[in-house]
Point group: C2
Chain length 96, copies 2
């Protein structure tokens, strides 16, 4: 399935800055960063469950926000964009 | 149609800070902010064309990035999220 993950992490505290780094690191394990706080992810449902579980235990739900958008099949291949393009195609193999 | 608009604007210059404000203001005319640089938009195709045209003339394509994700019909009604919820439902009337 094709997903877009967006997040806002409150970085006014050192703990928040740590959470921001941790959220990015988790997302890097599942997809490609296309903007500062936006990842495009191609994965199976089991990976999605794992990804969401990892994010849920990392963020502070009172201060942070993560949104998970499920796109139609293969929609990540034809995302409309303006300005700087992404660096990798969403279905490129992940290098971890 | 249901859209998610995400953007990164390079704010290292005063011009970039102005572009960031302008991009946010344009998006506010079409949908609801759900994160710092993420808007959810419910609109017709003609509005989408207008929105993209306005954004295209506002950003600096060498330094900024806007991505437009089209979701399945009504998908904005059931977005998965963690942490802080959005303040408004995506189909609430816009107050301009």
């Amino acid at each position: 399935m094709d997903l877009v993950i967006t997040y806002d992490v409150n970085t006014t505290t050192p703990e928040g800055q740590r959470r921001l780094r941790d959220v990015a690191k988790i997302c890097e394990g599942y997809g490609y960063r296309v903007q500062q706080s936006v990842f495009e992810v191609v994965c199976r449902n089991t990976d999605k469950v794992r990804l969401i579980a990892a994010l849920a235990t990392t963020i502070d739900p009172a201060h942070d926000s993560v949104r998970i958008y499920r796109l139609p099949t293969s929609a990540l291949d034809t995302v409309e964009h303006l300005g700087k393009p992404r660096h990798r195609a969403p279905r490129d193999p992940l290098i971890l």
